[in-house]
């Protein structure tokens, strides 16, 4: 009865929680493969094969940034949006909430997992672009582009977490797809934003992936020329708002 004085190792909790998350993801190929393969596949089709005419690496570079954006959204939205909803439905979340687990350890583990997968997606695109698309960038550009893309999965982790906590497990996969695919298209991730009618270009301003894509394109000097702080501001606001919604949902999960 005296052990309440001692504390468990927080580092060990975070480590084991992260390890569990990585095991969960890598042991289910159904999640892993589409997440990795779709962005690569799309990039090969639309960025490389359709572009045989060549613009000396211009279009492959542009599309590396936009498909990179497309690629980093999926692990975040699906791992959080669908994964959390399912674990909530199973009652697994209830057990974790009742346990002395620090809630942030759970979020942390999933975030780390998303960052790792985002990095793999991005590196795959880089290799494809450099080898087959004549993409030529400075080392600093490669590094900055990778950093921008990987870190920009954070707002989508927040969106996914809120969705996962709010949505019913049966509805989650459909809803996440309904959000993901139109949002990706309307943000100019498949078709360059300059080709959009004016109205849709304005709509894109309200979509988080648009701002990620513009930040990524800015690294390679291909963005539409808006301010960095605006993109960062929108993404930061999205993160804060959805984290707050997630927190609210987490606290009401208990009340149902």
């Amino acid at each position: 009865m005296t052990q309440s004085v001692a504390s468990p190792s927080i580092i060990r909790i975070y480590w084991l929680e992260t390890l569990t998350e990585i095991r969960k993801v890598t042991r289910v190929m159904g999640f892993l493969l589409p997440t990795l393969l779709f962005p690569w596949m799309f990039y090969i089709f639309f960025g490389l094969i359709f572009n045989r005419g060549g613009m000396s690496g211009q279009l492959p570079t542009y599309m590396m940034a936009t498909y990179g954006t497309f690629g980093i959204i999926a692990p975040a939205l699906f791992s959080f949006g669908v994964g959390v909803a399912i674990e909530k439905g199973q009652g697994w979340m209830d057990l974790k909430q009742a346990s002395p687990m620090p809630p942030m350890a759970y979020v942390w583990a999933r975030v780390v997992c998303c960052l790792i997968f985002s990095l793999i997606v991005v590196l795959g695109l880089f290799i494809l672009g450099a080898l087959f698309g004549e993409v030529r960038l400075f080392t600093s550009q490669w590094l900055l582009l990778a950093l921008v893309l990987v870190l920009c999965s954070l707002p989508f982790c927040a969106i996914g977490l809120a969705m996962g906590l709010f949505l019913k497990p049966q509805a989650a996969p459909a809803v996440v797809n309904l959000v993901y695919l139109p949002m990706a298209f309307l943000s100019g991730l498949w078709v360059p934003i300059m080709l959009f009618p004016d109205l849709l270009q304005t709509v894109a301003l309200f979509l988080p992936p648009y701002h990620v894509a513009q930040l990524a394109l800015k690294v390679v000097d291909m963005d539409v020329g808006q301010f960095v702080w605006m993109h960062l501001g929108v993404l930061f606001a999205v993160t804060v708002v959805f984290m707050a919604l997630a927190l609210k949902a987490y606290n009401t999960v208990r009340n149902t």
Binding site: R12, L16, T20, K24, R27, V28, G91, W92, P100, N255
Partner: protein, 312 residues
């Protein structure tokens, strides 16, 4: 098992004070108060919808009470200090299926300040040889034992078990009980919900019977059984109250003018004697003593599960 009748001499583990909780227009838990002392096993018994799981969730702080308060170890139940001394086994549909037994236990152990060694958890919970098996590859009974392992691996002082043996066959249930009893002998305090009177009887020192969110009866398993076994016989008889009262096992006689009511602790014996003593008895009905509907539910639940077990 009788020492729990002297709760005043023991440390108070949980205090539930006038707790109520409603969902929309249904009162799930209605002004329930109870104290739980160290080392006792309390069973919360009742049919589905009686408020058992709601009460557990209120005690865990996973639900906010509309009124009243709950303290675990003198602290709010959501406080980290209280949670680090509490283990929980909920009715969980499933847990991440690709994670192995050993990995699940390791993770939950890490949340607690002084967990049990991994091999000991595995042995205590009868999971030997299953450490490297993924959760999905376990049988139903093994999965329940893993969930139990997660509730005790941190060596908590208080363990909540929400219907721990649902879906287990009779053998598995017996084995599971002996594991729990073994833990109890180490001084752990247990709060258990169950449909099964038999389970409460096998494990609990004290039983609380919930009916429509209120405590309908409270006592030792034997108390509960004897109260619930009682029946009320209503009939029209030519015998007078004294003669009826003299029939075997009649506890109480009430005469409402046109009908008589006999409260019997052994209804079959009383009936046999009644029918013999008065050949003109008419309008005869037998019913329970108020806990009856609770027990009817309990029995039907039990037989339904047994049928399922046989079928599967």
């Amino acid at each position: 098992m009788t020492q729990s009748n002297k709760p005043s001499s023991r440390t108070l583990i949980a205090e539930v004070d006038q707790v109520s909780r409603r969902y929309a227009d249904v009162v799930a838990v209605d002004q329930v108060s109870l104290n739980i002392v160290q080392g006792e096993v309390l069973a919360i018994l009742g049919p589905n919808g009686a408020g058992k799981t709601t009460l557990i969730n209120l005690m865990l702080g996973r639900l906010k009470a509309d009124a009243g308060s709950v303290l675990l170890f003198g602290q709010p139940p959501r406080s980290l200090a209280a949670r680090r001394r509490t283990g929980t086994m909920l009715q969980v549909g499933s847990v991440p299926g690709t994670i192995r037994v050993r990995e699940h236990i390791e993770l939950f152990s890490s949340y607690y300040p002084d967990p049990m060694p991994l091999d000991e958890v595995i042995e205590v919970c009868g999971l030997q040889g299953l450490g490297d098996r993924a959760f999905d590859a376990l049988s139903g009974g093994q999965q329940q034992r893993l969930l139990f392992a997660l509730s005790i691996c941190g060596q908590p002082d208080l363990v909540f078990l929400d219907e721990p043996t649902v879906g287990m066959d009779v053998d598995a249930r017996r084995r599971f009980w002996s594991v729990i009893r073994e833990r109890v002998s180490q001084g752990i305090t247990v709060v258990l919900t169950t449909h099964y009177l038999e389970e409460a009887d096998a494990l609990a020192d004290r039983v609380i019977m919930l009916k429509q969110g209120q405590i309908a009866a409270e006592g030792t398993p034997d108390d509960i059984k004897s109260v619930a076994a009682g029946k009320i016989i209503r009939c029209r008889s030519t015998l007078d109250a004294a003669a009826l009262g003299a029939l075997p096992h009649v506890i109480l006689v009430r005469d409402s003018g046109h009908r008589q009511e006999l409260h019997s602790s052994e209804v079959e014996a009383t009936l046999r004697a009644l029918l013999e003593a008065d050949q003109t008895v008419s309008d005869l009905t037998v019913s329970g003593v108020g806990l009856e509907d609770v027990f009817l539910n309990l029995t039907s639940e039990q037989s339904a599960t047994t049928e399922q077990e046989i079928a599967s």
